[in-house]
Amino acid sequence: MHGYRAVHIIAQVDGFPVEIQVRTGAQDRWAQIMERYADVYGRDIRYGELPPHLNAVDRKQVAEFVDNLKAVGEVLAELEDVWDATHRTALKIRLLRQQREEHRATRRIRRSLEAAEAEMTRLRREYEKVDKALSTALLTG
């Protein structure tokens, strides 16, 4: 599907391949919307094919909807990048705090911790911004 985002894992269970699809809440919401729309306008729209039986007005409307949903997928990707960076920074902060407790609070540790905490604040703001953009895009798409 154009714009579909998820992680698919193939596991071997008792010698049989089993596909496990892992999605975030937002990724799943995106996929459910596209699937539901495809239920109405034809399964092929998931791959960019417009149904031939539609009139020009409906074709335009369906094409716009699919394009909007693709754009939402891009915002979603941006949100995931911020989310990943947030987790990496949270881990860094925890490690630095641990170092601060275990060793003398050196200037290097203090500076690194301050920088990581500032980065965390920036990422939280960025996340709020992108999350809001995603909600708006979903509602207007």
Partner: protein
Amino acid sequence: MRYFLLVYDRRRHRITTHLEFPFERRDDALAQRAALVREHREDPDLEIVLLGANTFDDLKKTHSRYFKTVDQLAKQKTRRPLERVEV
């Protein structure tokens, strides 16, 4: 966990068959699914699925498109995962 055998009509946005099987009766559920697939093989609008879940309400979350319109899906709230990141 229980098994839920559903026939979903994509165009009419309706579940036309809903059968439930306890976990131990998986083979019966699979046989019933195969029978339904044979019965409806000419109808491309029907989706015949066997799903495992604790409750029917859980399916409403994992397969929300069977139960909601595009508008309802778009307006649905996504959990905000960032609030769970602790430092």
